[in-house]
Symmetry: C2
Subunit: 223 residues, 2 copies
């Protein structure tokens, strides 16, 4: 499904620009606005005490977020310089009384996110460090709104962000990337650049089941 430019067209909207690291909303804030990413990257996250942070999702161009009706349960921050289109939630819901397709698309978006986070949870709980990274990179390859040219991938987020997304320490992430590099799965190219090898690109079509939800790491295609 492609999001049309005039989605929610009947409701007043505007754009805001957020610089890298800026908070869009925080856990506990009242929910008044909803957003769509026009460009850049947003991270949804749960902030724990003592710097423990869990990133729930990275959002890219076209992704909707913040349409909850109650207080914010998670916070949203800009990963990079990001442009967001904003709507007042109340006005979107009002619009929905005339054109219910708007509401249905929100249900669809929310349900899709539930499935995504569910698999995220399953992977973090059951995959080894290297397999989590494989899964993460494979997911990014098939992700729209992300600069990539013939095998080269430029991550918008820092290694720390990736580690907090995968539930790993930054050190373990670094070491696991070493392993994947010697295995020929991926090649680091600058601080945030990656060059995925042919075999790793194929992973995007291979099922997640094959990549594996296994307690051990025996699913590693490299082994």
């Amino acid at each position: 499904m492609t999001l049309e430019e005039d989605m929610f067209g009947g409701a007043p909207n505007w754009v805001v620009r957020h610089s890298a690291g800026q908070v869009v909303f925080d856990e506990g804030d009242p929910a008044t606005m909803m957003y769509r990413v026009e460009s850049g990257c947003i991270r949804l996250q749960v902030n724990g005490t003592e710097g423990a942070r869990q990133i729930i999702s990275f959002l890219f161009k076209g992704d909707l977020f913040g349409y909850g009706v109650e207080d914010r349960k998670i916070s949203a921050e800009a990963v990079t310089e990001t442009v967001l289109r904003c709507w007042k939630i109340s006005s979107v819901l009002t619009l929905g009384t005339r054109t219910p397709e708007v509401l249905i698309s929100l249900i669809k978006a929310a349900d899709h996110r539930v499935g995504e986070i569910a698999h995220h949870l399953a992977n973090v709980a059951h995959l080894s460090a290297t397999d989590r990274i494989r899964w993460f990179l494979s997911g990014l390859v098939s992700c729209h709104g992300l600069p990539k040219s013939n095998g080269r991938l430029d991550l918008p987020m820092s290694k720390r962000d990736v580690a907090d997304y995968l539930g790993l320490s930054a050190e373990t992430l670094s070491r696991a990337l070493n392993d994947l590099e010697t295995d020929g799965f991926v090649q680091r190219d600058g601080k945030r650049g990656f060059r995925l090898q042919g075999q790793s690109l194929e992973l995007k079509v291979r099922s997640e089941a094959e990549l594996g939800l296994r307690r051990d790491g025996s699913a590693s295609p490299s082994k």
Copy 2:
């Protein structure tokens, strides 16, 4: 918000009974029905290979699920003998064109679940085994649709289910329960019964932030 009996009243609906362990729908199935739990308990889960399983949510009386528009991304199974009320998704969406409140309540439910799973993910990724159990039990105490009488709590699900929910092995769960028992946090009472001590009951009002998202276990109230 209390769910009225005649919610979606305009749409045809009926009830089905599922016995313990029975599959309501599986990942990959086309989504045709949506459900509300009338009695019993449902688990949403991701089934990995080799018996690796991640339980995403336990659902109780009043909870809605299965309202996604695409194929099922996760599967649903009955934990106990369970009665579900069913609607055809298409007919609910059609009803929504006349009474958009129906759709809004679905958005609300979906968004609520996103927040819940997000915190679930954060906790599984960052809490120690004992703290995960504390969090789980504290959550059940404030959960409706679950038999409990003055401190005594009877879990509808097996220890294996709890372990798969918390991302632990059954052995670790058992050992961690020992620790919590010697700490006086909880007392096992039969195979599925628990007796929560006064101090642990208070936890339900203490914020999750205090229970803690910490890398170490220093948040333990017992220490």
